[in-house]
């Protein structure tokens, strides 16, 4: 029987939520790694029982956990995320050069083909790769040594690499307060792909780098089409990131963090509008997902089953995901500890669980 597994990383541990294909009754297991921040947890497309989790605290630093049985048991694997060579500097908040310093892993992206290959996006921004199931990690230095890197500067969330998109030999990554980068040679060399982004918070509004990209998604069938939620503005690219156009249209706010693409409709996109960069909660205290079925510009408010009032949670950048069942399921987690699910492409919603710690990430797996 088909099973759906939702992997929720939270501020105080990891949780695995499971249901059958109807997606109306859920079991909750966890917390795994209780007391630790789990920024991200994701399963291998090549082996759904192979899961990776990023585990961190300010006390004890970074760990990576691996499960080979779908999250029932876990083992810590390698946590040596060393920058290669002399790490060089980026710009600190006071304008001075500051050496790269590893803090945490924000995102884990398993290879679609090999369960032992997984990529990790770090803070301070760097991309790491493991080819042995996370036991050892090697930095792909071409990104951090890009000629623009010395002027990268952290935003309020840190200089974090939070988005990794794998498309055979082509890869995209996104870095907060820096922008989106593309590699066409398996991550060896990189170029910024931010043309068309306009950010009022930086001196040169359309600079090559310096844009606070919050999240980027692509549909597997349309690798050249990318959808981006930026600090402000919802954007799309149809040429593999070479140029971007704004598609915010009628959204009540084009500030937000996550963005997701329907599993079977490459022009159906989801965002969660947040009031503003200084008010990180939904407009008017009403939690809403907005859906565009036309690739942007025209958006539809989705409200059935979502809080109508007094809701002041946020939804973080990695906390929305979709499943691949025929009737696509959409999932997101909130800073209030709710994980909401829609089994009908967003038309209606219900909470899977209401009282988890603040949810940092949500990923979904469909098991045959």
């Amino acid at each position: 029987m088909t099973q759906v597994r939702v992997l929720a990383g939270t501020r105080k541990g990891a949780f695995v939520l499971a249901s059958d294909g109807k997606r109306d009754k859920w079991s909750v297991s966890g917390p795994h790694f209780g007391g630790w921040e789990v920024y991200h947890m994701k399963g291998s497309p090549a082996d759904p029982n192979r899961l990776y989790a990023s585990q961190n605290t300010g006390w004890f630093g970074q760990l990576v956990q691996r499960s080979d049985d779908g999250g029932e048991t876990w083992q810590p694997v390698g946590n040596d995320f060393s920058y290669v060579g002399e790490p060089g500097t980026h710009v600190w908040h006071d304008g001075t050069p500051r050496p790269w310093e590893f803090k945490r892993i924000w995102h884990l992206e398993p290879s679609p083909d090999d369960p032992d290959v997984v990529y990790a996006g770090g803070e301070d921004a760097a991309l790491f790769r493991s080819a042995n199931g996370g036991q050892t990690w090697t930095e792909l230095t071409g990104l951090r040594l890009h000629e623009s890197a010395p002027v990268w500067a952290p935003g309020a969330g840190g200089l974090c690499l939070h988005t990794i998109i794998l498309q055979e030999s082509r890869m995209f990554v996104a870095i907060s307060s820096v922008g989106t980068f593309r590699s066409d040679d398996d991550g060896e060399t990189w170029r910024p792909v931010n043309s068309g982004l306009v950010s009022e918070g930086i001196p040169d509004n359309d600079a090559e780098v310096g844009h606070c990209v919050h999240h980027v998604e692509a549909h597997p069938s349309r690798p050249d089409t990318l959808f981006m939620q930026k600090h402000w503005d919802v954007m799309r690219s149809d040429d593999g990131g070479l140029s971007w156009t704004e598609i915010s249209g009628n959204l009540p706010s084009d500030f937000g963090f996550p963005i997701a693409v329907h599993a079977h409709e490459a022009e159906t996109v989801y965002v969660v509008p947040i009031t503003s960069d200084s008010l990180h909660y939904p407009p008017d205290g009403r939690l809403r997902v907005w859906r565009s079925r036309s690739g942007g510009h025209e958006w539809q408010e989705l409200s059935a089953g979502l809080p109508e009032r007094d809701c002041y949670v946020n939804v973080y950048r990695d906390a929305m995901s979709v499943d691949t069942l025929d009737e696509c399921g959409i999932y997101f987690g909130t800073t209030g500890g709710q994980v909401y699910a829609s089994a009908d492409s967003g038309d209606s919603w219900a909470p899977i669980v209401r009282d988890l710690p603040a949810v940092l990430s949500v990923e979904v797996q469909v098991l045959p």
């Binding site: 300010g58 006390w59 004890f60 630093g61 810590p76 946590n79 040596d80 060393s82 920058y83």
Partner: protein, 111 residues
């Protein structure tokens, strides 16, 4: 619990999260092979016995104590002592005799 081999057996108390990671309960005993007990020698012995703790107590790159980790023994805070300095004589004697443990502590913090 004792560790066979030459050197000094040192009782170590780890914080709960690190005990979970190491898969141990209560105190552990590590064998410190160095002729003189220093903070670094004790920590090296802990990480050698429990490789999973690498990077959780000391920064992997710099080898420095992580900011919210403390080292105590005999009611003394050893956290800011030079890592290669011999432990203070009464502390070293008490630890070597097994009378007192070396404590690795997660610093108090709110939240």
């Amino acid at each position: 619990m004792s560790t066979p081999g030459p050197g000094t057996d040192v009782r170590v108390v780890l914080p709960a999260h690190l005990r979970n990671l190491a898969g141990v309960h209560g105190e552990v005993v590590v064998c410190v092979p160095a002729p003189v007990l220093t903070q670094r020698a004790v920590l090296d012995a802990i990480e050698s016995r429990f490789p999973v703790l690498g990077g959780t107590i000391r920064d992997r790159r710099t080898g420095k104590r992580r900011p919210f980790i403390r080292f105590y023994a005999c009611e003394q805070d050893l956290s800011n002592e030079p890592p290669d300095a011999p432990l203070p004589d009464p502390v070293a004697k008490a630890i070597a005799a097994g009378a007192e443990p070396f404590l690795v502590v997660g610093a108090m913090a709110g939240g």
